[in-house]
């Protein structure tokens, strides 16, 4: 579990989490719920509930930033996505890169009518803001907003009860919606591999809105523990674990984040290294591992092919929907083909593992209106 610094900052829903019986831990400098107590609490129960129904996550620790609409071109100098060509109300997953092509953070960029809306990781948001400002952009930090994620196959049922028009949103699209006299910015997106929504709203409205969602029979509060196991099963990397400044987008299997135009034009940090690896391959890749038995392999565990260490686990644990341990690891390219038999060292024990495609659990996104794909 995360270390507890002496003073943790509190988020707008702190009081609600405590009333709901959350166990609070330090995460990214904030007091956050890792899991809830009671009959329906616990990481496995919360995880499975989200896969079957709808889970409400407080992700207000993440950085919500606004840039002027004309910051699209300067933003493109920091990341490999096509931002100038991004349509209004469309989300794009992207990566802040350093000059060696290393990943400084992963983020979502959305073009709105009058600005660009960025969501960045809580643990590195101060560095991201400094990075944007150093590049000459005017950054408005919206720490007066909360951010909720409602995830799961029944998320749409629960949210449309409060805001009927959300059913019109498709995956990776966003729009403004009115609720209780305020404007909410809602996207159909998330980090669990399920259909769902991310809801940005004034901090002053957060508790009222969260309680209205929780009143729905589909919805239970879900902590950071299940958020981590859900994203791991979905094959989604977590910054600071599966991505960092020593990994680049090709190694990380995130080549899709390099937009077509940027592949042709380059002009993003580390472009020569990344485009070379895009065409000629990287020395190592982020892959998924299915592990025999029940013993989980955690971050830092060494991966072996026979007697040779060929990689390192960057995330791993029990996967509640798979019913077995799974892991993500960076492994030398000769050993990354699906089905390759490898071993993982856990406290001197060699666990049999094999390379499997990610996601470990098929994704359940709503690509076209009303159709799960």
């Amino acid at each position: 579990m995360a270390d507890q610094p002496e003073t943790l900052m509190t988020l707008p829903l702190d009081g609600l989490h405590r009333r709901l019986g959350a166990r609070m831990v330090g995460f990214a400098g904030y007091a956050m719920p890792i899991q809830y107590s009671g009959e329906f609490g616990g990481i496995i129960a919360e995880h499975l509930w989200t896969r079957r129904h709808a889970g409400l996550f407080d992700v207000s620790h993440m950085g919500q930033l606004l840039l002027p609409a004309d910051a699209d071109a300067p933003l493109e100098a920091l990341l490999p996505g096509d931002i100038c060509g991004l349509g209004t109300g469309v989300l794009r997953y992207s990566l802040f890169l350093n000059d060696a092509g290393g990943i400084l953070d992963d983020l979502m960029v959305t073009r709105r009518a009058d600005d660009l809306y960025l969501v960045v990781n809580g643990a590195v948001k101060a560095a991201d803001i400094a990075h944007l400002r150093a590049a000459g952009m005017a950054v408005s930090v919206r720490d007066d907003w909360a951010l909720l994620a409602l995830q799961g196959p029944e998320a749409v049922l629960a949210l449309e009860r409060l805001i009927p028009a959300v059913v019109t949103l498709r995956f990776m699209r966003a729009a403004a919606f009115a609720y209780a006299g305020e404007t909410l910015w809602i996207s159909r997106s998330g980090y669990t591999g399920e259909d769902g929504f991310e809801i940005s709203l004034p901090a002053t409205l957060a508790e009222t809105f969260a309680e209205a969602l929780l009143a729905g029979p589909e919805v239970r509060p879900i902590g950071l523990g299940a958020r981590d196991s859900l994203r791991l099963e979905a094959g989604l990397p977590l910054y600071g674990h599966d991505l960092d400044a020593s990994s680049n987008p090709i190694e990380a299997g995130l080549g899709f984040a390099i937009s077509k135009r940027r592949k042709l034009e380059g002009g993003f940090p580390g472009a020569s290294i990344i485009l070379d690896q895009l065409h000629n391959g990287a020395a190592r890749r982020r892959i998924g591992l299915a592990i025999d038995g029940k013993l989980p392999a955690r971050e830092g565990a060494a991966v072996f092919a026979g007697g040779t260490c060929v990689g390192t686990v960057t995330s791993g644990g029990h996967a509640p929907s798979v019913g077995a341990p799974i892991a993500m690891a960076y492994v030398a390219t000769p050993h990354v083909a699906d089905g390759t038999a490898l071993e993982i060292d856990v406290r001197g024990r060699r666990l049999a593992a094999r390379v499997v495609p990610m996601p470990f659990k098929p994704k359940n996104y709503v690509r076209a209106e009303g159709t799960a794909a």
């Binding site: 029940k294 989980p296 029990h318 341990p325």
Partner: protein, 123 residues
């Protein structure tokens, strides 16, 4: 049979020279869902206050310390198939291992149920 506890949230049932070791209900609540337990094999020497077992919850691996010094006589084989016994029956069927005590005087420093409850109330 006498039940003892430690400040590290292990329990110990002592019957003559043999003892059964497990973790307390408070400990399992803190760990959350247990998915794997690594227990010492029969014949293993364990030392008071030293790592003797590992509990893997969904979130993390945690060491379990032996409350006393001794030689393991039996590991709880049921935990292999059903590690969640640690959550559902931590102080009964979810025991970890049995051992033969090397130094019964080590029991003097352990807590009784009243003292352990008082200790947990301060946490």
């Amino acid at each position: 049979m006498t039940r003892y506890y430690t400040h590290d949230h292990e329990w110990l049932d002592v019957d003559g020279n043999s003892a059964t070791v497990g973790i307390t209900d408070y400990a399992q609540g803190q760990l959350g869902d247990v998915v794997f337990v690594e227990v010492p094999a029969a014949g293993t020497h364990v030392a008071k206050g030293k790592e003797a077992a590992v509990v893997e919850s969904v979130k993390a691996a945690s060491d379990v310390y032996s409350p006393v010094t001794g030689i393991v006589s039996e590991a709880n084989a049921a935990l292999e198939g059903d590690p969640a016994l640690v959550n559902t029956a931590p102080e009964t069927a979810g025991w970890f291992f049995k051992l033969a005590l090397s130094d019964p005087s080590e029991l003097d420093g352990l807590l009784d149920a009243t003292a352990y409850r008082a200790f947990v109330a301060t946490l």
